[in-house]
């Protein structure tokens, strides 16, 4: 059963700030959803292989040829903070 500590731990993994009231609400909602999802455990799937992909294709690659990318201006256009033509982020902490 998922509890508030699990929710906080998962929120941390997902780098998602949750307000205290959100943690409580989220815990209840996740518990209900997971209970529904647990229906899957009715099935014996021990002999069933997993499907990661519905496509039968394999080995799609491209050749090692340089193609034009973005100009520096385009690359930085959307950046919230730029210093010295680089993306600026707060200290690592």
């Amino acid at each position: 059963m998922i509890g508030e500590d699990d929710v906080r731990h998962v929120a941390r993994l997902a780098r998602l700030h949750l307000e205290q009231d959100e943690v409580g609400r989220m815990t209840g909602e996740l518990a209900r959803i997971l209970a529904h999802i647990d229906k899957m455990s009715e099935l014996d799937i021990s002999a069933v292989p997993p499907t990661a992909h519905v496509l039968d294709v394999v080995g799609v690659t491209r050749s090692d040829r340089v193609e034009p990318g973005l100009s520096r201006e385009e690359a930085l256009r959307n950046a919230p903070a730029v210093v010295d033509d680089c993306f600026r982020v707060p200290k690592m902490g």
């Binding site: 090692d64 033509d85 680089c86 690592m92």
Partner: protein, 502 residues
């Protein structure tokens, strides 16, 4: 696990503790940046030293909606490495997402490989001291490199104390091969030898220049200790930030006694990641346990599995060059070199090729080896040149070796000739002629010199005639000095004995 003579173990393998002997168990994870034209999953150029953020696209900046496509050349290069390490290449491999947040990782996941890597179960044989060791290779897989983080403000270049960081995505997405060994490496020195020789191998394969300054090869080590002779595995720690071979050895050498100390005091080694500080030569824990990564690997849905056509794999295998270890054996056999000499010459591919080009001129292989390892290697080191570069061509070195072998120049004069070959960029024969460096064996020319030396040293003549025959060497030396080393020692000996005995 060690190849060769497993029973004989070098003394450096044993760590002497207060309560007995311990031995190290070391494994390595090596990352190699491949020299492809483009990045692993996009068509941006892989470059060095360009202005920041000038080689990016929606894919390597992780813009919304952008998708990765695998670089075929990167697969080929990675396969070369895998086959050279004697790995099995399964018929298919799968990319996974490795999830964690960091500003140098734009998607917040690295596309890497997990439970179905490119290659598994290989081995690498390498020399450590006089021993040939074997290290099993657990896996070889493909992934993408992170971008470059520059820590600014505060103490420049360090994370601690920096006010902010800057991200340059030029390097982000460069193809990487990760080589993971089994914990088969028995000592810090062996770890260093392993890495140096692995680097030589990768360079030989033509898939990476493995430039150390640019960080094209990087590694982490894991290490544990156990009572000498035991076969159990202790708790290991992981060491990071060792960007030179020397630091790797130093870090391992400092970690060994630390673990032994803990165990002998009745404690337990904690499984943790340690950061090596080259300034203090010690390690410190990198992150606490609760911060331990949970990478949430799952199959990358944007890529389909890679099918490895066995025929293609065999083609790649057939295209591999002769690998260093095999070449050392061949050189020893074919050219009659000692193991030690063969390893110096045949280890690095470029030097081996140079040497073989010298020998191909028809000169004595042993003499050629002496000159290649001696004057030529010293010259490369002094000039900072790669083998095969500079003015000393294999043809010229062979010509010089031939002059020595034929007695046209003395060995010491030949060293002069070698120096002048570099300075004057000329053929050895021309230099000998121009500077009169040829050997003098004409007794008419040497006679007066001998007479002069004898006349100038009466007391030594006295000693000689009093029975101290070894003084003869002194006279030979004087004659050599007077002739600039060009006198034929045999003729000088003969003339001197005549003059002194007579």
């Amino acid at each position: 696990m060690t190849g060769g003579d497993a029973a004989v173990r070098g003394a450096d393998r044993i760590v002497r503790g207060m309560r007995g002997d311990w031995e190290a168990v070391i494994g390595l994870e090596v990352h190699v940046e491949l020299d492809t034209a483009t990045k692993m999953f996009c068509s941006c150029a892989v470059t060095k030293g360009d202005p920041p953020n000038t080689h990016t696209c929606p894919v390597c900046l992780a813009h919304p909606g952008a998708l990765p496509v695998v670089n075929q050349r990167a697969v080929e290069y990675a396969t070369r490495i895998a086959l050279a390490l004697d790995c099995t290449v399964p018929p298919r491999n799968v990319f996974h997402r490795k999830n964690y947040f960091y500003p140098d990782l734009p998607k917040a996941y690295q596309i890497s490989q997990y439970d179905e890597p490119l290659a598994v179960d290989g081995c690498f044989d390498y020399w450590s001291g006089d021993e040939k060791l074997r290290c099993r290779i657990d896996r070889v897989h493909m992934e993408e490199d992170a971008a470059k983080l520059i820590h600014a403000g505060g103490e420049t270049g360090r994370i601690t104390g920096s006010e902010y960081s800057l991200v340059d995505f030029n390097r982000g997405g460069t193809p990487l091969v990760e080589i993971v060994t089994e914990p088969d490496i028995p000592s810090p020195a062996a770890a260093r030898d392993f890495l140096q020789q692995l680097r030589e191998l990768v360079i030989e394969l033509g898939v990476s220049e493995c430039n150390m300054e640019e960080g094209q090869v990087r590694w982490d080590a894991n290490i544990s200790v156990r009572p000498a002779g035991s076969s159990t595995l202790g708790t290991r720690t992981e060491l990071k930030n060792m960007n030179s071979f020397r630091f790797l050895q130093q870090a391992l050498e400092s970690e060994l006694p630390r673990q032994v100390g803990i165990l002998e005091a009745g404690g337990t080694v904690e499984q943790e990641t340690l950061h090596f500080d080259p300034e203090t030569g010690t390690t410190t824990p990198l992150r606490s346990k609760e911060e331990a990564h949970d990478y949430r690997y799952f199959p990358e849905p944007d890529l389909v599995p890679l099918a490895m056509d066995p025929a293609w794999v065999e083609e790649v295998r057939a295209s591999l060059p002769e690998l260093p270890l095999a070449r050392v054996a061949r050189f020893a056999e074919q050219y009659g070199l000692s193991r030690a000499d063969a390893r110096v010459i045949a280890g690095p591919g470029a030097l081996a090729r140079f040497y073989e080009a010298v020998v191909a001129q028809g000169v004595d292989p042993k003499l050629a080896a002496n000159w290649t390892m001696g004057e030529y290697l010293a010259h490369l080191n002094a000039a900072g040149l790669e083998p095969g570069h500079g003015h000393v061509t294999p043809e010229r070195l062979a010509a010089l070796v031939r002059l020595v072998a034929d007695g046209v120049v003395s060995t010491s004069a030949a060293k002069d000739v070698f120096t002048k070959m570099i300075e004057e960029r000329a053929e050895p024969a021309a230099i000998v002629a121009k500077h009169g460096l040829g050997r003098i064996s004409d007794s008419a020319a040497l006679g007066p010199v001998v007479a002069e030396v004898v006349a100038a040293n009466p007391s030594q003549v006295e000693q000689y005639r009093g029975g101290k025959r070894q003084v003869l060497g002194f006279f030979v030396g004087q004659v050599m000095k007077a002739t600039g080393g060009r006198a034929d020692p045999a003729v000088v000996n003969e003339l001197l004995q005549k003059a002194l005995d007579g």
